[in-house]
């Protein structure tokens, strides 16, 4: 499974109902919803794949990991393009 890490040096701040996230990699700022901000918070601990992120978010929110899977899996592209996460070259289950 694909594994993602939080880009070093990003800044995330709450702004009203959203979150403002600055990426030093792109120099851009993105406005994020709570779910995307939560994913970034989980990745602050260590790099993770979709399943691991879902398990951690589930323990926090009480929502079953299966129900979170599509949401988390669908967030990677936006977070990657915003320069907030990067995909690691190896998977967690099969490090080479």
């Amino acid at each position: 499974m694909r594994c993602f890490a939080r880009v070093e040096g990003i800044l995330v701040e709450p702004v009203g109902h959203l979150w403002a996230a600055f990426s030093p990699a792109t120099g851009e700022t993105a406005l994020l919803n709570d779910e995307s901000a939560s994913i970034l918070e989980v990745l602050e601990i260590e790099p993770a794949d979709t399943t691991a992120v879902c398990v951690l978010l589930s323990s926090d929110s009480g929502i079953a990991p299966d129900e979170l899977f599509a949401l988390v899996d669908g967030s990677w592209q936006q977070l990657t393009e915003a320069g907030l996460v990067r995909e690691l070259p190896v998977t967690l289950n099969n490090p080479q």
């Binding site: 800044l11 701040e13 009203g16 403002a20 600055f22 030093p24 700022t29 406005l31």
Partner: protein, 322 residues
Amino acid sequence: MSAGESDITRSLADVTPGAIADALASDGLWLDLGAVTLNVRSDSPVLAVQLKAVYGHYPFIDKADWADAHIRIMQARGLRRWMRPQVVFYCDGRLAFDPFPADSPLPLLEWGANWLVAQRLNDLLLLHAGAVERDGFALLLPAIPGSGKSTLTAALSQRGWRLLSDEFGAFDPAAGVFRAMLKPVALKNASIEVIKDFTPDAVFGPVFPKTRKGRVAHLAASKVSVQRRHDTARPGAVVLPKWQAGSPTRWEPLAEHVLFPALSFNAFNYNLLGEAGFRAAIALVRQCPGWQLIYSDLDDALATINAAWPGIVERHAQVEAS
């Protein structure tokens, strides 16, 4: 940065157009706008009169050690000068922009100076906003398309608010304050008559009927605004104005997630400043409460702002005391 003023006892209003023209034709005229000083040279036969009309309260400085930018507004050469005379804008020796008609050096100077400020002053976060001050706090009016921010900024500046700028909310992140970028307010089309009706004794320069932005006239900054152009202002509040024909005045609080993009994504140099810009914008959103102001009646809009302002100042006083 302030120029070393050679003669602070005289303003442009105190000297003849000939003296201004002589300065423009020799070492230049230094225009100290507060956060920036421009050196302007020109061979235009009409620029001196136009500058005297709208920069009348500014000190007449024809010798100084420093300018942040050197501008020349020169008559265009070549055969066409006989058919359709034009003026061109040089900055630090380089030609910039398409030429303007020869009778319109002031709009070219104003437009070019704004462009230069937006390019150069990257020690400041340059919000695209009107900015006025009262009680030591800045009120920002971000430029959302159709907002009429220059009209409202001009109206406030004529009714007891100190004008900082009609174009730049110039925030100094290191000091946590706004600085003045004080130039005449550029009003366009119907806004010219709106402000002339609103304040019949307002001082305007000539009307330029055919600029690329339509009809343009420049409203002179008040004497007190010019005298206090080096005074800073702490972040106070943000108002997103929206002129809507026939609408009753509506004053609605705005959440931070609306204010943040209105300030940062609308700034001239937010992306350029990177992390410093992000931190500055977050600091402003934390400090400044915001409102949407929808209005059609200018007097009523100002009354609404004036009624809310003491509460805003009180809120800042409580935060500072805590």
